[in-house]
Amino acid sequence: MLQRILSALLLTAALAAPSFADGARGAPSEPTSATPAVAAKVDVTVIHATPEGTMDRRLAPMARPLTRAFKAYKGFTWLDEQSSAVRVDDERKLTLPNGSELAYRFLGADPDGYLRVHIEVGGLRSTVRVKDGGTFFQAGRGYLDGMIVLVFKAAAAR
């Protein structure tokens, strides 16, 4: 009788083991911030991407993400950059080489630590949730023989 009970328990454990293993592996802790950030440091880099060319030395720190994101482009030229501390709902503006104006605002930090950045450029309006210290690109507007690439990096100001 004891043997049968043990066999039944072992069978149950064997059936349930994959579910527990999968569940345990799939639940990382979310990034949280003890206090919501009231300001963020936002770095904007303006790049001219062309099908031919080389990587500008000033863009070396972000060469890898650029080449991975824009595999059809070989030339990346640094055009401009702006780095500023932006308080919640404060707006910053930057004029782009193609005549468009970039406006961006820091909307605050979410409880999970993601920073909310709103951008408006050339008729595009978008809100992006970016990881604290994370980077995202905005690209696609034509300029000369290539296109404009905007690199945004946001980090909570402490």
Binding site: G26, A69, K71, A72, T127, K131, F136, G140
Partner: protein
């Protein structure tokens, strides 16, 4: 001497193997106990029958039908036997035992019959464990899964609202960014996420206007012009 003691001594008493004193006691007890006397009488009859049988000449014994009777009994026993032991030079046919399916069925039947309450509890626990495991694992079920390096995930405006996804080798990664909303007064918008959790595979918010010489990429390679 009580009756039980007398009965145990009846056989040696009949055979004259008892000590004279004990034999006298048995004899006195038999006088007082009709049942013991009757048992001794029966014992004497059996002994007489056996003596007659062992001393009777063989010719006087009726053996007709003996062989047929024995062979009939042998045939009946063979038909009745399920298994037989092997002996030298004799080939026996061993009946097949229950198959695996039948044994499993019998085992489960015994388990659930004899330990039904415990089996029910174990079964319920197993079901709850599976449900709990699926529920915990399903937290990342809505996020895209990587097939390999550079696998792009195309999303529409707004994109995937979750910030977690399962990366290579089951590793769960926190996404670098995702687009919450995106509106374009002109042109087309497309969000391309290479699927990575580091800045090396950052999200690209594409905004392409016709006539500017840039086309929306069909994949994560950022094909344009």
């Amino acid at each position: 001497m009580n009756c039980n003691e007398v009965r145990e001594l009846l056989m040696p008493f009949h055979d004259g193997e008892l000590d004279p004193a004990v034999s006298a006691e048995v004899e006195r007890a038999l006088v007082d106990c009709p049942e013991c006397s009757a048992e001794l009488a029966e014992l004497r009859l059996v002994h007489a029958f056996a003596s007659d049988a062992f001393t009777a000449p063989v010719a006087d014994v009726d053996l007709s039908g003996f062989t047929d009777g024995v062979m009939a009994r042998v045939a009946a026993e063979q038909a009745e036997a399920a298994t037989a032991t092997s002996s030298d030079g004799v080939r026996v046919k061993r009946a097949a035992g229950p198959g695996l399916l039948e044994r499993l069925s019998m085992w489960f039947g015994e388990v659930f019959r004899l330990e039904r309450p415990l089996a029910a509890a174990v079964g319920m626990a197993a079901i709850l464990a599976v449900i709990a495991g699926v529920w915990f694992a399903g937290g990342s079920a809505g996020a895209p899964t990587l097939d390999g390096p550079g696998h792009p995930t195309m999303t529409a405006d707004g994109g995937d609202k979750t910030n977690k996804r399962r990366g290579r080798e089951g590793e769960v990664a926190v996404r670098s960014a995702y687009v919450e909303e995106s509106i374009a007064a002109v042109g087309e918008v497309k969000v391309i996420d290479l699927g990575g959790d580091s800045d090396d595979e950052a999200l690209v918010l594409w905004h392409v206007v016709e006539g500017e010489g840039v086309t929306l990429p069909a994949n994560g390679n950022g094909t344009g012009l």
